[in-house]
Amino acid sequence: MGRRPQPIARAGPGLAATGLVLGLTLLPLVAVALAAEAPGRLGPPDVAAIRFTLVQAAISAGVSCVLAIPVAQALARRRFFGRQALVTLMGAPFILPVIVAVFGILAVFGRAGIASDMLAAIGLPRLDIFGLSGVVLAHVFLNLPLAVRFLLAGWQRIPAERLRLAASLGFGPAEMRRHFHLPLLREVLPGTFAAIFLICTTSFAVALILGGGPRATTVELAIYQAFRFDFDLGRAALLGLTQVLICAVAGIAVLRFALPRDLGAGLDRVPPDWPGLGRAAGIADRAVIALAGAFLLIPILLVALRGVTEIVGLPASVWAAALRSILLALASTALAIALALSIAALPRELNGGAGIAAFLGIAVSPLVIGTGLFILLRPFASPEALALPVTGTVNAIVALPFILRGLGPALDAARATQGRLAEALGLSRWQTWRLAYLPRLARPLGFGAGLAAALSMGDLGVIALFSVSGNATLPLEMYRLMGSYRTEDAAGAALLLMALSLLLFWIFDAWGRRNDRA
């Protein structure tokens, strides 16, 4: 009886998951296009919007990546007390609701922000960040944490033995750069750049609030306008299709330029001190960590300070919405993890395509998805019944690519080691997963689940289209407070939202790390 390597799982669930993602992103687009009374047409303002969208997304992604390089490097090679807590906290902006993040940014860099106050105190003019610079600043604030996390994960994948080898070969800074840093960057950066680029292409509130005017019109705003004021579904569908094309081009570019993942299996030996590191580098690292920490954390701190006195007196409906949002986030997380595991377990030849498909979730406008689903599902159920399930599902799909990114390498590594063992032991697929894979996947799963929960918590997304009075989520409730002059209550709700997002993330992430060495 010849033995073939046992597949890690049936392809069925993975293909079904991919199908669900494709269906939930592309079908709504088709539905919107079919509902249109006339074929869409893109005018010169739309072309300008596409151009601006691409330019700001490229600059935002580029700056995020470039800044992430020294930050991740410094965090990777320094061991200090509270490092893990700092890494977790520095991830916070990425999971902040965008509107909260924008007000955090303004509290620091706005005309009335503390940075402006400091400049004014020494007689310099106040900052004016509105315009492209403000858009990029906010996008970097929101996405630098993601870039740092991706790069840091890359650094941590470097087997300790290879660092020992470098030490034994007497590598200096130049050789460390050449043999560790550059290959790592080529492996991680293209995907990181593409992910942030895509996130920024669907940016709506940031570009609109900080953009300073109609010059900063994004595709997402054009879609909003097409839906809301013109009711031009054909144009909305065309713009949505443009987003899909941008995503496809970015995905293919990543596959072409990125180095394949380095699967060097380490033995988890204690890493030596970083080879080729001098005093100057040590000082620089500390400065980089301090600056990045200040940039990412002070706006959050100011949002917290603004809300802390209001949080006790929040209306009961806000607390009810908070509970609803937590439950929604948990359900959404469970779905996201199930989808991610199914897709990650696909055979290699299917894996790459499914990974790109997963990115559609962040590239396609939530407005298009929401409206399309509304058109598709309205005949079968009332929007009230659909609001929370649809929101949870869409949130899960948005989180999917981020979970997959961490899960893929870990699963490959587990396959290469424990997978063989499980095969040798003749374990069933279920046992193989439970005993061999899942323990090795705890860390990326915990991180991914935390991300999914927090993103779902903070997302306003499609709920706005489906919502009725009784089932608002916390972000929606916060918007309603803002819409009724209750900015102070809204500040309290923003803090609550931020705290809950961070808490959910922290709980899952800590679960994933529970077996880590200190």
Partner: protein, 227 residues
């Protein structure tokens, strides 16, 4: 060639304490149960761990406080010996001083020939078998030209036929260059030509040490299971 004088290393609760001499050109096999201190000893000699007490001398020179790269030691790791983004030539050339890496292609080719990998220069590590990867690393160690080599389970991932070939290759190269070798292994079988000395560690102590020929002829009780 290697002298460990009153060496003490602690790692958590584990404590290694021993003195040991390895003669020039000797090829010492460190055996012992898991947790007996083999890897700790190797790490200490290499310089990845700082000893709490004692001295490490290599060729009469005190290297106790020196960084890894300045100890005159080459290391064959159990895994992760090669950089995946460099081809075989690039990996082997890392054994040369930085100034000669570009011009040293003839030396690299010679080293590859001597480990039986003539013509493999432009392959990537990912395209090589485990045994071939180990031989590439060996070629690099040859170019490094250090008097001492540390090897961590050099045969662990090799099947018996490859194991014999690799052992023969190391013995041959060491014989020609006079390399002094300390290797961790859990199995001495088939290594008769390679191993000249044996040391058995138990709970961080040196339980048995001596010439391989003597110990094989009249093995102490503790060593018998390892032979």
């Amino acid at each position: 060639m290697i002298a460990l004088e009153g060496l003490e290393v602690t790692r958590g609760r584990f404590r290694l304490a021993l003195s040991l001499d390895v003669a020039k050109g000797a090829r010492l096999a460190l055996v012992g149960k898991s947790g007996a201190g083999k890897s700790t000893l190797l790490d200490a000699v290499a310089g990845f761990l700082k000893p709490q007490a004692g001295r490490i001398l290599i060729d009469g020179r005190d290297v106790t406080g020196l960084p890894v790269a300045q100890r005159g030691i080459s290391i064959l790791f159990q895994d992760g010996n090669l950089f995946p983004h460099l081809d075989v030539t690039g990996n082997v050339a890392l054994g040369l001083p930085a100034s000669r890496r570009r011009s040293g292609s003839a030396e690299v080719a010679d080293a590859l020939k001597s480990v039986g990998l003539d013509g493999y220069g432009d392959r990537r590590p990912g395209d090589l078998s485990g045994g071939q990867q180990a031989r590439v690393a060996l070629a690099r160690i040859l170019l490094q030209g250090n008097p001492v080599a540390l090897m961590d389970e050099p045969f662990a991932s090799l099947d018996p036929t490859l194991r014999a070939g690799m052992a023969g290759l190391i013995a041959d190269l060491a014989g020609r260059t006079g390399l002094t070798i300390v290797m961790v292994t859990h199995d001495l079988r088939g290594l008769d030509d390679l191993v000249t000395d044996i040391a058995l560690l138990e709970d961080g102590q040196l339980a048995v040490s001596g010439r391989a020929a003597d110990l094989r002829a009249d093995p102490p009780e503790a060593l018998k299971p390892w032979l």
